[in-house]
């Protein structure tokens, strides 16, 4: 008995060694090479955007072939971008919409997600179906457009908040996770006199903090990237979110140039470099935060997909 145990141990050790401390072979080299190249391919467009934004336009236009290291650097396009009042108002709108919208989304999602765990509640099946049905069928653009107009949300910041109440996908995942918490916990709290609010706020939510962090981030990213509703419903340019300001700059940089610096001839601050510096400025928060929050970002999908 003891002998077989030792033998087994030796065997598993050998396997483990073979598994882990394998020598670095040719195949490993090519796998790493391919993965690194794909990584560079993901990074390069961003690097190129930085490059275009800092190389003086005259030099960039005349350059031949591949450019990796900037031959000269100028911050003019960034100075121009920061002087652009639309970038400033865009940032303001986007921050307001993101904060308000994410709070609104999370509040609705958590409350509704908890309600959906109450399978014994009269009428809950109908409500659940009514919710899920909206994932599969919608009225389409025009009826939606007319409905928003009827609600008088046009040209109001609320149009970028209210119509995006719950993401059904997130709602169902959160609800599933609430359900996986042992019901005995809830029952004992009920016996101690806790009502549904106390149970949700004091017991369930503290147990699900990483989950909540993940979906807060998802909602925040969605609100941050908002442009569609703004394009359809917001006519006043000072109320545009960042994405729509970017759209304008990308599509028509010349219009913007005449709008903001009348009569100023700046050959080095032109088209491409302004577009790219605006893009860099608008993705800065994401670039800085993403590596640190990556853990939360990546956990969401697997929460929903892989069940024991």
């Amino acid at each position: 008995m003891a002998q077989t145990a030792i033998n087994n141990k030796a065997l598993t050790d050998k396997v483990a060694r073979k598994n882990r401390i394998r020598h670095f072979g040719v195949v490993d080299f090519f796998i790493l090479l391919f993965l690194s190249l794909w990584g560079l391919l993901i990074l390069y467009p961003f690097y190129n955007a930085v490059l275009v934004s800092i190389v003086p336009n005259t030099i960039y236009q005349r350059s031949q072939g591949f450019m990796l290291i900037p031959p000269a650097i100028t911050w003019d396009s960034y100075a121009f971008t920061f002087k652009n009042s639309l970038i400033f108002t865009g940032y303001r709108t986007t921050v307001i919409v993101t904060v308000l919208g994410t709070a609104y989304n999370m509040a609705m999602t958590v409350l509704c997600g908890y309600a959906l765990t109450k399978t014994g509640m009269p009428g809950i099946k109908v409500m659940r179906f009514a919710l899920i049905f909206t994932m599969w069928f919608s009225g389409g653009l025009i009826p939606y457009y007319l409905q928003i107009k009827d609600l008088h949300l046009t040209d109001s910041l609320l149009v970028m908040v209210l119509p995006m109440g719950v993401n059904l996908m997130y709602l169902l995942i959160i609800s599933d996770n609430f359900r996986s918490i042992p019901p005995s916990l809830e029952e004992s709290a009920k016996i101690d006199g806790a009502n549904d609010w106390t149970i949700l706020l004091r017991i369930l939510l503290p147990l699900c903090l990483p989950l909540l962090a993940t979906f807060t981030l998802y909602y925040a990213v969605e609100r941050w990237n908002e442009w569609y509703h703004a394009m359809l419903f917001i006519k006043t340019s000072s109320k545009w979110p960042l994405q729509n300001v970017l759209r304008t700059i990308i599509n028509d940089v010349n219009m913007l140039a005449t709008m903001n610096v009348p009569g100023q001839a700046r050959p080095d601050v032109q088209g491409d470099s302004i577009k790219m510096s605006s893009i860099i400025v608008s993705m800065l928060p994401m670039m800085c935060l993403y590596p640190f929050l990556q853990r939360y970002f990546l956990s969401g999908l697997t929460l929903g997909a892989v069940k024991e």
Binding site: V15, R22, V27, D28, I31, L32, L35, W38, G39, I42, P45, N48, A49, Q64, G65, F66, M108, L111, C112, Y114, A115, P122, M127, A130, L131, T134, M135, W136, F137, S138, G139, G140, L141, I142, P143, Y145, L146, Q147, L162, V166, M169, L171, D196, L200, N225, L232, Q243, N244, R247, I249, I250, D272, K275, I279, M286, Y290, L301, T302, A305, V306
Partner: protein, 317 residues
């Protein structure tokens, strides 16, 4: 006898009300979401009737019925059928190239034995998923456009091709630009679900395989792939269910009039005939096109979900 059952019925009814009272806070919790879907999801569905009406400014209800005129006109509309064909074709191309690649990438990541480097790579791979197409379109147009770096390199390698640069204006190339840039953005994100499935595979299988003298390739083919094949099939079915979604954000932010013919999809088409075209298309017609798309979408998604459920898996979407 009858008096007895009546009393029982009354008691049951009282119990229902008591139960509803017991759940009063829960009803209050679900109420905001119900109001939300009523206002922003079901009210637009009520507006679908516009597809069978001629739109009048007086409102949806006041518009007159028109005997399916919009649906009859749809086939004669010169840009409708091309948009429909493009939607399906571009979706098909996306599935052909964009679907297998994340699986391939996930297998490679799984074979990468340096955990720290692996984490760095995954951070890079998944990053573009969280950026908007507005922003990425800007970067992409700059990179591939007439002043972009790709053209500069092409000028050196093949001056003739560089001179006639038309990456963004040739419809056939444009379709591939759509497909490949979408793959560039989403492949890293797509790997996560497969890597999660791989991590669920029993490690002892690999140990046994090593003892049996399996090499790396044999382990992938005989253990890893069979271990994730159910996840692959689910993802595939659901992806096919989305075939009518051509990717509005991406197309809308990158296309230009020269590629309308090959790159226009149903969603961008609806947007254009409703808000851009000056020739005054009836809003009822746009609604009809939207309804056409949504009905196909509904049938596709429903059958995809039913099919996945028949495989014994739970899938809501």
């Amino acid at each position: 006898m009858t008096a007895q059952s009546l009393a029982g019925l009354r008691r049951a009814r009282r119990n229902i009300w008591r139960e509803i009272y017991n759940y009063r806070w829960i009803y209050l919790m679900i109420l905001p979401t119900l109001v939300f879907i009523f206002l922003f999801k079901y009210m637009p569905m009520y507006g679908i009737q516009l597809a069978f009406k001629n739109y009048k400014l007086a409102g949806i209800a006041a518009s007159p019925w028109n005997d399916f005129a919009h649906f009859k006109y749809m086939m004669d509309e010169p840009e409708f059928l091309p948009a429909l064909r493009n939607t399906v074709l571009i979706s098909f191309m996306r599935i052909l190239v964009g679907f297998p690649f994340p699986i391939f990438l996930a297998l490679l990541i799984n074979e990468c034995y340096t955990p720290r480097y692996r984490r760095v790579l995954q951070t890079i791979y998944t990053f573009p998923h969280f950026l908007s197409w507005v922003l990425l379109a800007g970067i992409m147009l700059n990179l591939l456009g007439s002043t972009g770096m790709v053209r500069k390199v092409a000028m050196v390698l093949n001056p003739e091709a560089g001179q006639n640069w038309n990456f963004l204006y040739d419809g056939n190339i444009y379709r591939w630009v759509l497909v490949l840039s979408d793959m560039w953005k989403e492949a890293g994100w797509g790997t996560i679900i497969y890597l999660a499935a791989v991590s669920g595979i029993d490690q002892s299988l690999y140990e046994a395989a090593v003892i049996d003298g399996c090499n790396r390739w044999q382990k992938i083919v005989n253990i890893t792939l069979p271990g994730i094949v159910s996840m692959i099939s689910i993802q595939f079915v659901l992806r096919v269910g989305y075939i009518m979604e051509g990717g509005f954000d991406q197309v809308f932010n990158t296309y230009t009039p020269p590629v309308y013919e090959k790159g226009d999809i149903i969603d961008t088409y609806i947007y254009r005939i409703s808000f851009v075209r000056t020739s005054g298309v009836d809003l009822g017609f746009s609604t009809a096109v939207g309804l056409f798309k949504n009905v196909i979408n509904f049938v596709m998604m429903l059958s995809a979900n039913l099919f996945v459920r028949s495989l014994g898996q739970e899938a809501v979407l």
